[in-house]
Subunit: 426 residues, 3 copies
């Protein structure tokens, strides 16, 4: 009975057309062209590499897509237990007529050809969105993105600010900033002006969020204009910054961005906890890990200083979920946001989602985002989440707390779609 | 079959009359007078505030109880997913005739009136205890509480020592100590005498525990009399203490209290991990959070130095439960104590309770306490715990380990009631 | 239906003959002689002590085995909830004809006698292995073990290196090293030579792994020969090392051992996170605990520097499992290894195993090891794991992901046995 109920709730959740609040879609090339675009997703290249495939086999210069897919498929039997491979199989079954439950050396070539034919249909992108129950998709845009050449109603810009906060000391970053805004960075005043220019540009193109990923050691703090000016002056005269000065500069830029979020009424997505390049000889995008010794207490000053800015927060380490639940339960401006990267597997989504649904106001939970690079992954990733959500709604709400099915569905709808609309104002 | 068995076990657990080993009940006003006493519980005010209700709406000076309830009820539809709201609904159904499964703008006024009438019955306090299956309730008493005017058999005093350990540098605290004991604090000797006086007073009034909540950074240590005297002298001559001296003073007082626990044979409840005033503009009692980077290794010296003192330990961060289980498994004087505050939701109680029942001697587990401020919350909170306990006893013990139902029930009875008696000597 | 399926899978898993990849078996006295060898396992002595039995009662000099068992049995009713006691009961039922579900003051003496008679059978060791489904068992050998007098096909040597890394500053350790290798330690060169000698000796006797347990604070790092020589010289002239120098010496030895692992193609088992002697007056082997504030980021340099060395990693704190899953997912040379000590209870094995099966390549997971001191514990400990594995294969793979039973069993077989063969080359 519980299985039937779960099935019924899942069927209803499936009907909800979604807005995906975070992805890495390139709006000018949103869908895939060959299976290589799918198997090239870092989940498969890094897992294949982890299971023994040499990086050179994957990233060989000039490698044609079909050969690359063939090499990766040879490894899939070492990875087929992973939920990531289950996404791939599920989407190939749904979109490309795969009837087997595995992708193997024996069946991949015909799959490759069928997928290529499908992807070549002129409206594949639109078909894929429709078949995936996706209406609108948030992007991750470099701060100097022109935001031209795509439909900002379908693909919602989001100002990604990692480079500004952590790489402003690089000449290249400052040159990109100047090019994007027309403003020469000569001190704090012009830096503020330039940042303001970015927000004006992004919001004029319907951006609905600012976003950043943050290392475990980072703790936002207000930096005085005088201190920031001193660091910036030193930098602009070509000197190297000390470690402390570097951090101060990052803190200053981060704080200034948050001020702009307040002014332009943009939520600031914080993705907390990633260490970059922990395995520097790993494959592309398969080099980052984390140190779980991080706490949201590091963000105390920020949350207190900006009561009007909403912070949708993702945490990388699963153990951070309890703090996230608790901080969202107390701070009006903190909301839970999806299940990120290394925490995005059912074993962690289920307990994390359960705790959020039990202790965070229902209006303050963004259930899930895809984080995808290619549209085809939206459906299987959201489907994984919907299955878990249906299970929790069934067990915790309908059975244990005797909610009606329609009450449970309303809660599901709210975390899947409603809160994306209300929190990001879309 | 498993559901029936669980139901049967729960029905048996329901019959056990309990001693609640930790609450914040005011023994002179133990039960509520209006629904405002219930909705004024910080869980509701902080969640409503988190979901958007301005603090000024909740804490407006002179606000009458009924208006306050009305304002909070307006927010409940944003919070009705939370287990905290489920406690409120459950108790209103049980005690005040609520028949709906929600408290809404449409039904709250009649509920308010019914509750007020019920609460006005002269024996409501006794009725409530009986209907809740509660026999005796531990209190949380300020160190300068006279402990007069109530039945110490029903309401068991507990010496709460946060102020002494963390706020002795405040003149007000020392004045309260002097007033309570008649001893002027002029150095370590008189401080020890005063603390001894408190223990004499509390135990003469049937206190059965000493208790304290502790921040994540605190690490107990023995401080020499000479060092303590130096710090205390500096303080008493009106000088400000350095951060290190402050910590030393806290450590000295804490260690001295533990010595008194040994002498007076009182268990020392340690509630580990809370950061106070993280969100200082939050509502009353809705400002505290935590930094989960804490370890019980910080208490190593304490546990070794006081083998005759029992330390019932509560941890705030869910991730601390594994250390708590392990330290209780090894140290004879460490016992597990309830599920505290941010860890007191089913998503965390269930795995935490499961791990304790699997790895800590059954004599060393205090299953649950209510932490309530008003008697009406005892029943729904214990009921939440009993449901989880029944599920674990069913699944892990009767099904997986083939225990008889009566063996499983005996274990349940022991963690719910038996250990409270044996550990606190009540 | 799910329960039947789980039962069917478990029955198949039961048939797999295992290689136990980590134990503390003494190959010259592998099985027990009396029940005292079983009840003397630190799990029972430390839990009994934790529940109130004085250390002197357990470790009284000259205590005869039967009296010792009697004293421990008197305490078992305080511990019978623990999974550790369930191992004891299960093995006594399987091997020694116990028909009750408890070991009590009323039944233990006849059990003692029956067990003693069984253990006295000349082929008990072989019987026990066969009845346990165990074919080969890895040992934990001191670095100066002669490795003589036993069948290295059945009992596979493993070079345990804690003493070398953390106690080389003790004269006794250096004397043992000299005695084992014939090399006087006069500096870095001779130390390297001696270590090389150990690896030659161990691999000549079919050793298949090097192993070490590590405290939470340890972070491997390369130390220059010059720096190492300076520290070693200071040590050899009889001076005390500073804390920093001690750490440098540990790091140097650890790094040198890893170089030998590379040269001799031995996996290096890292057991991360134990603090020794936290409770120094506890019973034998019942004194160690942990500080969960540890991160695998501390091993970043090591994993990058030794791509050809496989590191099977065990973590002590349950919260470390997420990092272990993630690091194994990214680093080709990191593999997950069993469920260690305080994490070796069903409440933690189940979520940990689930996460690994969902996100780590199936070729990179060593499901379980017994960690046993006496052969009789192999069966109940592996059985506990098999039950959890059967449940996860049933729920997550056959039901949720619609794998066939034979596909699920193949995955189970791989983590239980296949990967032990492929990773350790046995």
């Amino acid at each position: 009975m519980s299985a039937e109920l779960e099935h019924r709730l899942l069927a209803e959740l499936d009907k909800i057309v979604l807005i995906d609040p975070h992805s890495h879609i390139n709006p000018c090339s949103a869908a895939s062209e060959t299976l290589a675009d799918l198997l090239g997703y870092h989940y498969y290249t890094e897992l294949a590499h982890s299971a023994g495939l040499a990086k050179g086999q994957i990233e060989e210069p000039g490698l044609d897509p079909k050969t690359k897919v063939g090499r990766l498929v040879e490894c899939l039997d070492r990875l087929d237990n992973t939920v990531q491979v289950s996404w791939l199989v599920a989407l190939c079954q749904r979109f490309f007529g795969l009837t087997d439950d595995r992708i193997t050396p024996a069946n991949w070539e015909s799959l490759y050809d069928r997928a290529q034919a499908k992807m070549a249909e002129p409206d594949w992108e639109t078909q894929c969105l429709r078949q995936s129950g996706l209406e609108r998709v948030f992007l991750t845009n470099d701060f100097d993105d022109s935001l031209q050449g795509f439909d900002t109603h379908r693909y919602i810009p989001c100002l990604r600010t990692d480079d500004l906060v952590f790489h402003l000391a690089k000449t290249e970053t400052r040159q990109r900033l100047t090019k994007a805004t027309g403003i020469e960075i000569s001190g704090v005043a012009s830096l503020r002006q330039a940042i303001d220019g970015l927000f004006r540009h992004f919001t004029s193109r319907q951006a609905r969020a600012c976003a950043i990923s943050l290392p475990p050691w980072f703790a936002p703090a207000a930096v005085s204009t005088a201190d920031a000016d001193a660091v910036l002056s030193k930098l602009l005269t070509g000197k190297d910054l000390s470690a402390d000065e570097s951090v101060q500069l990052s803190q200053f830029v981060f704080w200034t961005l948050t001020e702009s979020c307040a002014e332009y009424r943009l939520p600031f997505d914080l993705m907390i906890g990633v260490n970059r390049r922990v395995y520097p000889t790993g494959v592309f995008q398969g080099q980052d890990l984390f140190d779980q010794r991080v706490s949201l207490i590091q963000y105390q000053a920020l949350f207190n200083a900006f009561p009007t800015v909403t912070f949708p927060i993702s945490v990388l380490a699963q153990i951070s979920n309890h703090e996230l639940v608790s901080y969202s339960w107390i701070f009006p401006n903190v909301v839970t946001n999806g299940h990120w990267w290394y925490s995005n597997i059912p074993a962690y989504i289920e307990p994390d989602c359960r705790a959020r649904l039990q202790a965070v106001p229902r209006t303050k939970q963004i259930g899930y985002y895809s984080d995808m690079y290619k549209l085809e992954f939206g459906w299987p990733k959201f489907q994984m989440y919907r299955q878990i959500l249906a299970r929790i709604l069934t067990q915790d709400f309908v059975i244990d707390r005797r909610w009606s099915e329609s009450e449970a569905l309303a809660l599901g709808r709210q975390v899947l779609r409603g809160n994306v609309e209300s929190i990001f104002g879309v």
